[in-house]
Symmetry: C2
Subunit: 250 residues, 2 copies
């Protein structure tokens, strides 16, 4: 194990055990050099690693401070779709979140997994409706939601690419056009954020995002839309109760 | 934007669009310095950022290579618990996975979220049963599963802390002791791996983990166990179908 890794390990342990409490400043570099008998380069590398892990952050005029992790909110994505007067919604916890800015409509290269689901070339341009959702009271951003539309769906229903898609939004327009009942499935994954996502969601370095990819299909199985929503993995988790299958009757 | 961020941005875009294909080597540092008219420090910082994002990796004797991301496997954690001749299981995709080594039983400081669920002091020592699960054919590790036992449950049922807990494992022992039917709930979150988890799961730098925390309760609501399972977020995603609530009948 390299010298810096040993130092990172000791500091990490002390932070996780609460011996160095959240909000306190780490010893100065010169003090760490002395304590560990290590060079400045070694000490810097050790502290950079803690920063990359999201355990500490650099604060102007204070030095390197142990981060307070926010309390994690559980989202009750309960495998169900609901409806209110605005239209379908998938997450009762997030029902009160609203678009913080006007949604933008752009042509963007489809991410690889989205391209595969939409049946287009990876990197090929598709229509994207992007929204930053958040708490209407505080203006705090909670999720970045991008709806990627199938080129066929836009050709059939040009309104899907309009800024205002009318009451009930794109799903009502699709169902009115005969694709009723729409079917949805979701997948949850995680990755490091893009710099843009980190900025929009005010993520500290070392904080990954949860990514929920929802696919909208016609009753015949044609994919009309893929929605990718990104949230801070430090602020949110996804919870659910577990039912017993008949094989597991006690 | 700092100069290195601009360079990272251009290289990231070229990698994501597939213009620099997976498996190819990035231009050498001297070539990048020339192309961007930037110092070695700037070029190094830009490439380190790509490595931290999991897009490239350093390969001995070859230089910096664009990573091939593995195909992501969908786990069908279908909010149901099943039973086979080994006992309860929660994930049909993972039903064939087996412990690759003998499970270890240790006293460890409870992670903060686990401590809260178990009702013990954060950092207080609890009994942990740890298992590395994987493909029995290839010996490849797929998940690290740690079962944290409530001190009260161990006091009541010392067998829970034995290496061999008998047929049906800890859950059958708990139900035989009168805590039947057990109830479970799960939460999915994500974070960067510990160095130990990165090593066990052979994760590249910049790859976060999905973490599934399952809580086992008695019918009266007492928490007997918290199981925390960690998987590569690059290799796995969690998928499910969506049902319509009565509010969303088309």
């Amino acid at each position: 194990m390299a010298r810096w890794e040993t130092i990172t390990g000791e500091l990490r342990e002390a932070i996780i055990r609460g011996e160095i409490a959240p909000g306190t400043t780490l010893p100065r570099e010169t003090d760490l050099e002395e304590r560990y008998g290590a060079s400045r380069t070694t000490v810097r590398r050790a502290v950079e690693e803690l920063e990359a892990e999201g355990l500490v952050e650099k604060v102007r005029r204070r030095g390197t401070v142990v981060r307070r992790s926010p309390a994690r909110t559980r989202l009750t994505r309960s495998r169900r779709v609901y409806r209110d007067d605005i239209g379908y919604f998938f997450d009762r916890t997030a029902q009160g979140w609203r678009a913080l800015e006007t949604p933008t409509i752009t042509r963007v290269p489809a991410p690889a997994d989205v391209a595969r689901l939409l049946g287009v070339e990876p990197g090929g341009d598709v229509t994207a409706r992007s929204r930053i959702m958040g708490e209407p009271d505080t203006g705090e951003a909670t999720q970045v939601a991008v709806s990627y539309l199938s080129p066929d769906a836009v050709a059939e229903l040009p309104v899907l690419a309009e800024p205002d898609t009318g009451p009930g939004g794109i799903y009502d327009r699709m169902e009115e056009a005969g694709h009723s009942p729409l079917e949805w499935e979701e997948a949850i994954s995680a990755r490091m954020p893009s710099p843009e996502e980190a900025r929009l969601l005010a993520l500290a370095p070392g904080v990954p995002v949860l990514r929920i990819v929802r696919t909208t299909r016609t009753p015949g199985g044609r994919v009309l839309e893929v929605n990718a929503t990104v949230l801070s993995a430090e602020r949110f988790e996804i919870g659910y109760a577990i039912d017993r299958d008949t094989s597991a009757t006690p």
